[in-house]
Structures are given as structure tokens and as C-alpha cells.
Symmetry: C2
Subunit: 345 residues, 2 copies
């Protein structure tokens, strides 16, 4: 059983994931377990549905059965989960230390049956299906009151932590709101308390005026390189409309999100020649309580603004970043945006 342990000095939590347990020699040989060209071994191929645990959700051709071919997007439990829904989220004191048992969900979202298709090759329909699946899974898991946050991310390329070649995203639902999400929420709340305006709405209006860090926009979304990008060529995809909750997205907005993502990913692909990257969705934690009247004014739907981040992994995080939590970025975001804006698709 895995467990979350509190790192008191750094005020964060580590999942000690025994299901994924590794002895010293495993690290040298198994860090990237990519199948070696033999597609028949890939568990995410048509016909290999029995090589994974049974599917949780799928978008399918009409008339096809679960756990058979015919799916367009397929969601399955992670075979080596970091957290499990069967584990009660017990809070336990261990002498001097604190832990929470490894409750949660760890799912794999296989975005295409095509082994050789990666996100830069996805059609708008395929991106729509991917985001629709994100939305459905978050909505479904939000029903479990023990779940405090649902984190969805995609690792593209080995250096970004991808362990299987076949294109997929991951979902990890947690019994705690993670540190970075909590920071974003707190920072947005403080900003709102002071100004009664949303931090990201203000940022967008500033960026659309200044233009120099904007890469692309359509009716609903703007694609930009953030002012204080932690990573070179970092990209943020932000709804121009205020919304704290990704799952509230409507069909037109979903189309526009797929359009913005397709352009962002392809511009990155061309500019940096298929760089590894992480794509991360930040959205509101599930909200279950109606706040007291006095607090309602500061309710999360007013001050939080969901968004997607793309972090290219072309520079190595080293002793500076890991020791300080600050970052060194050798490419000013204004320059990065210019390159990305100007590259032709």
C-alpha cells in the first residue's frame, strides 16, 4: 500500500509508492521501459485491450463493446498506481511524523489507438475527444467526497518522464490539494481580496494590450508565454472568459480549446524540433459546500481561473532550481513568443 508522507522542512508531501517499488538495479535498466518497436507488445493497441485492467470510460464507435477495439479514447486504471481507491484515506501519526494512506485514483487516458500518432498530429476532433474525456473523468471523480483534487497531465517525450511510447495522459486524484495548486488558489484569493478582480483576467487584459508575449488567440482562448516563465518556451493556454472550473466548458469553447492547443503544440514542435514537454491542467478542486453568506464574496468561482500549461523540458533542472525553488530561464518569454508567433505551420 502506498502512503503520502509529510516533508515538514519543505512543507510538501511525497507519495511513497510501493506498488512501483524499485531496488537499486531497477533504476539503471528500467527508467524508460519503452517497447522496442514490437507494437504487438503495446498494451494500448487495438486487440490488446485484455492486457490492461478493464476500461473505466471510453469514446467508441457506435455498437462496439467495452474492452474491445473500436474506441477513440480509452481510460484505464494505471497498472502500477501511485494511489488506489480501495485504500482508506486515513490520517496517521507515525511517532514524530505524519502520513496519509495512499488513497486516490490513478488513471491512464489513451488518446488514440494509433501507436505512431502523437499530439502534434492530432486532428481537432481527436483533441476534442481528449479534452471531453478530461471533463468526463473530472466530473465523475468529483462525486467522491474523499477526493480533494484531480490532477491531469501529459508527459510528451522521454525527458519529460514518458515511459510508454503510445500517446497518453494521466489522471491522479488525491486526498489533499497539492502544494502548487494551493499556492495558485491562495495567490488568486489574496489578489481578489485586495482588488476584487481576478488575477488571471487582469493578466490577460495586460497581455492582450502589450501583445509581445502573445502567440495566438481565437474567440475563447489566448496562447501566451508567461511574463515570469519558469521554463524556456513555456506556454500558457488561458480562457479569455472567466471560469474557475474546467468541467464547465461548453462545446464551442471546447472546439476553441482544441484549436488553440493544436496551434500551440505544432508551433512548439516546429520551433524546437519536437521537444519533450509536460502539459498540465490547472482547475478548481471539486466544490461541495455552499459557503457561508459572509464568505461567498470570496468564493473560488470568483477568483480562480482554470488554464493549461505546457512546459518544454529542454533545459535540465539542477541544484539551483531544486535547492531554491527559483528558476533560471535563458530565453526571455518575449523572444520565445516572437519565435513561436513567427514560425509558419
Amino acid at each position: 500500500m502506498s502512503e503520502l508522507r509529510y516533508n515538514h522542512l519543505k512543507d510538501t508531501w511525497t507519495i511513497i509508492a510501493e506498488e512501483r517499488a524499485r531496488r537499486p538495479h531497477d533504476y539503471a535498466t528500467h527508467i524508460h521501459e519503452e517497447e522496442k518497436g514490437d507494437i504487438s507488445l503495446c498494451p494500448f493497441e487495438y486487440g490488446n485491450e485484455d492486457k490492461t485492467p478493464p476500461e473505466i470510460f471510453a469514446i467508441r464507435e457506435p455498437g462496439t463493446l467495452p474492452n474491445t477495439p473500436g474506441w477513440k479514447v480509452r481510460v484505464i486504471p494505471n497498472k502500477y498506481p501511485a494511489v488506489r481507491i480501495e485504500t482508506p484515506p486515513d490520517r496517521i501519526g507515525e511517532c514524530f511524523y505524519d502520513k496519509v494512506m495512499g488513497f486516490g485514483a490513478h488513471e491512464v487516458i489513451v488518446e488514440t489507438p494509433d501507436h505512431f500518432k502523437h499530439i502534434q498530429n492530432f486532428s481537432k476532433e481527436e483533441l476534442n475527444n481528449m479534452f471531453l474525456t478530461y471533463k468526463e473523468r473530472i466530473k465523475s471523480l468529483s462525486g467522491d467526497i474523499r477526493i480533494r483534487y484531480i490532477h491531469i497531465f501529459k508527459n510528451h517525450g522521454k525527458e519529460a518522464g514518458k515511459s510508454l511510447v503510445h500517446s497518453h495522459s494521466q489522471l491522479i486524484a488525491l486526498p489533499k490539494i497539492p502544494k502548487i495548486v494551493e499556492t495558485q488558489i491562495n495567490q488568486s484569493r489574496e489578489y481578489y481580496r485586495e482588488k476584487e478582480r481576478c488575477l488571471i483576467c487582469d493578466e490577460i487584459s495586460q497581455e492582450l494590450k502589450e501583445v509581445k508575449r502573445v502567440i495566438y488567440e481565437n474567440d475563447s482562448f489566448v496562447v501566451l508565454c508567461p511574463y515570469a516563465s519558469l521554463f524556456p518556451f513555456e506556454i500558457r493556454i488561458v480562457p479569455k472568459f472567466h471560469s474557475h472550473d474546467f468541467t464547465a466548458i461548453n462545446d464551442q469553447q471546447l472546439n476553441d480549446l482544441s484549436d488553440a492547443t493544436q496551434i500551440a503544440v505544432n508551433k512548439l514542435y516546429k520551433t524546437l524540433v519536437n521537444p519533450p514537454f509536460n502539459m498540465i491542467l490547472y482547475t478548481s478542486p471539486p466544490i461541495r459546500e455552499i459557503p457561508a453568506k459572509s464568505d461567498y464574496f470570496y468564493h473560488i468561482d470568483r477568483f480562480y481561473h482554470w488554464h493549461i500549461e505546457i512546459l518544454p523540458r529542454i533545459a535540465t533542472l539542477a541544484g539551483f532550481e531544486l535547492g531554491t525553488g527559483y528558476y533560471i530561464n535563458p530565453t526571455p518569454p518575449e523572444d520565445a513568443a516572437k519565435f513561436l508567433r513567427e514560425v509558419l505551420l
Copy 2:
């Protein structure tokens, strides 16, 4: 001129380092600029002292001149500094955003003249010289009241961000206390306020009782795998005596630190077969003001405890870690400590 930009949403700072500026194609080819076997090109060799900026500090054979051979450890300014002492640390509002100009110091500590010697091969005398140099440089830079923190780290191996093969550490002095250091200070202060005991002193006494996460100890230091290790096989080297300030270390303690480090590094080398790692020194920021009487009880010398961290880079930080600030560690620290304890040197 570089600048520190505030990332409002994540509450951290990025150094936009134009001196290290990179265009898209630089990333593909220049990520790891290791010299290709031709030692004569290495700027850290005897006889190549003129290929670096003039030295700031050195431990030398008696009678040898600065910027000539005969040094044992040599400190020079980084040729591509992230921050510069000539830049005034001006705080500037940029419309909606905040920045601090890139003031600071960025130094390279060349730990040996031997191109092929790495930290696992250092003698105790060589480690003593390295740590003595850390101490001298921190003491010297603490004199500049504009410097708020002095961060020293070592990147070992390409995957840990090392860009030149020849063994070296780096020092970056900053006009702000970095986020992670501030978190450590705040967490230690809160713990002290509640208990009037030092967090790390309590941790050590617990660990020495439980034994299972301890790898080694001598008179002054304990080497252990922290309870909530963020990284697999993470190691902490901690003074058993309470001290907030690394520069207060005496000669006997320095010897013991070199002993503990030599054992930690060699056990890691053997257990994981020369893994890449970052070594990070956490110590008190320079203290210049005597606190008001009422605050003295909570002065940093009471609650902070300096220490060294070794973070093996054998697993990739991916979309989970970068998006949540939580970590997944597949090797329980109890298991890691057992492997490290039992490996023979």
C-alpha cells in the same frame, strides 16, 4: 542584464538570464557542452588559468601566484553569470508585473586540478579544502548587505545539469531569500514557536532511536534517508550539534563532515553505479541585525539547523511533480537506507 521576475501565480521568481541567452536551435545542440576528450580545451586545467576570468579565491601550494598553476581549489566568476555584482538590485514595477534587476554573484568553485577526479575519488583533504572554500566564500559575500542569501550546490553528471566534465561546485548569491529556503526557515520557526525545540534536532533524535533510516554516523554528523524523501535514495547529512550557520563550523567538525560526505557519496556511487546527483547546502541567510529583545527568543540561531542534501537524479520529474509540487518516490527511504548501509566500501 539579467532580471528576476515574480511569478505571481506560483509565488516564486525566475531569473531571466540574457547573458545565457538561447535561441531555439541552441537548445538542441548546446544543452550539454561537454568538451570532447580534448583536455587542453578545458578552462579548469593547470596552465589554462587565463581562459577564465581572474580568480576570486584559491587554496594554493605555498609560493604560487594567483592565476597560475599550483592551486588545489580555485574560485572564479561564472563566464555566463545568471546574476552580476555590478547590477544594482533595483526593485521595478513593470506595468502589472514585478521585477528585481539581476544583482548578485555567480561563482564557480573548481574543486581539483585533476580533470578525471570526481567527488567519489576525493581524499578527505580534498573534501576539507572544498568545504573550507564554501565557508570562506559565504563569509566573504556576507559582507555585502545587498546579498540576502548565498546558495551553494554541486551538479554531478549530465542528467543533474552538469555542463562541464571537470568537477566543480557553483555559488549563486541572490538579492532575495529563495522560496525553498524561506519555507524551511518558516517551518522551523513555527515548530520552535510551538515546542521551543529545533525541528531538525528532534528529527535526528527520532532517527537515531529508530535507526532504520540511518546510513552512517560519526562524532559530529549523521547521514540518513529522510522520512519523506522527495527523491529515491535521497540523502541528508546533518550536524548532530545544533547550528544554524555553516560558516561557524570548526576544524574538527569540518573533518567529520568530510568523512561523512566521503562515505555518503561512495555508498551512493556503489549502490546506484555512479548516479547523477545534486548536492545542496542549506544554511542560514547572513544575519546582520540584532533582533529586538522581544523577538530574540525566536531568533534564527535557535530554530534553524544547517544541513546538506544529496538528490540522486535517477527518476524523471514529470507532469505530476511539476504540476503539484508533490513527488512520487518508488523506493521507501527505509529500503534505500538499508541498501546504502549494507553496501561495502
